[in-house]
């Protein structure tokens, strides 16, 4: 297990839990990162506010890789602008491309996401596109230079779990990049299930932010993700289509 690294754009990670930083107190970030064992944390880019002197960067432990997202972008052009601004802040070249036109379900625009991925990969970014799980789009993202593919499990912030399970499985089976399940994972059992399926990592935010005890839930997710990963590597036992198979020796006993 010690050699089981997650590799994204040539960078190695031991943790397979990507932590969001939205919708909770900055003061909880350090505990969340620690209890999640996270090595990557997502951030958003917004108009700066001079009134609030607190900056999220002061709350993120050193050594954690920052993954700015392009939330708020409605098309590829806006996503590219946001990514460039994020990189200009001098915190690395990772970017999670996130483009939405639909404000009710917050579903990603796959076509614009492919365009933005191609431009940003060409500019040297490590591009991690958030997408609706579609095999053809995932293949286009690979061609466009993505470093990972991030299919949604269910709508952002819904905590509804693996609604797109079968389609994520297709990506895991067919795409030769880390498949990181993003959005909608609501509990550790769902994270564990995605990892058992062969997902490379899990990204979660709302499941933690809306939990009763955020750091404790971060720890529970960590254990779920680690268990699922181990089960995947071990290889799951087969499922019978019908009948039964005894676990005990079938030799006669207490009878003639």
């Amino acid at each position: 297990m010690n050699n089981d690294k997650l590799i994204i754009g040539g960078h190695e990670f031991n943790s397979r839990f990507i932590l969001g930083s939205g919708k909770y107190s900055l003061k909880l970030i350090e505990a969340a990162v620690k209890d999640a064992g996270a090595e990557i944390i997502t951030l958003a880019v917004r108009r700066a506010n001079t009134k609030e002197q607190e900056n999220i960067l002061d709350y993120i432990p050193k050594g954690v890789t920052l993954l700015p997202n392009t939330s708020g972008a409605r098309d590829a052009k806006e996503a590219v602008r946001i990514a460039r601004l994020a990189r200009e802040m001098g915190c690395g070249n990772f970017v999670k491309v996130e483009i939405m036109r639909d404000m009710k379900y917050l579903l990603p625009d796959n076509q614009e996401t492919i365009k933005a991925t191609e431009i940003l990969a060409g500019e040297g970014f490590v591009v991690m596109p958030y997408m609706y799980p579609d095999l053809n789009v995932a293949r286009d993202l690979v061609s466009a230079g993505a470093a990972a593919v991030m299919p949604l499990a269910s709508p952002i912030g819904s905590n509804k779990g693996l609604a797109t399970k079968d389609f994520i499985q297709i990506l895991v089976d067919e795409i030769d990049l880390p498949i990181i399940v993003d959005a909608g994972i609501g509990k550790p059992s769902q994270a564990c299930e995605a990892m058992e399926m062969g997902a490379a990592a899990i990204m979660a935010n709302t499941a933690l932010a809306t939990a009763g005890d955020l750091p404790m839930m971060a720890s529970a997710f960590r254990q779920g993700i680690e268990a699922g990963r181990k089960a995947y590597l071990a290889g799951l036992g087969r499922v019978l289509t019908r009948g039964a198979s005894a676990s005990d020796p079938l030799t006669g006993f207490l009878r003639d």
Binding site: T42, A44, V45, T50, N55, L85, N205
Partner: protein
């Protein structure tokens, strides 16, 4: 007029660096875009606002 983060300001002729300092931004924690192009930190002092410039000053916040 110069439009900064959606607000019209009468600061044409002044430099970006002066504006950021006066407004109270932590220049180490922001990024600036002028008319759609990134302004590198090294260029803040020599960037002079012209009438009609559109400027965005951004920083990181919590997000998924």
């Amino acid at each position: 007029m110069v439009k900064i983060n959606g607000e019209n300001l009468d600061i044409a002729g002044r430099t970006l660096f002066e504006y950021l300092l006066d407004a109270g931004y932590d220049t180490g924690r922001i990024a600036v875009e002028k008319n759609g192009d990134i302004v590198p930190k090294a260029a803040y002092e020599k960037t002079v606002f012209a009438d009609g410039d559109i400027v965005e000053v951004v920083s990181f916040v919590g997000g998924g």
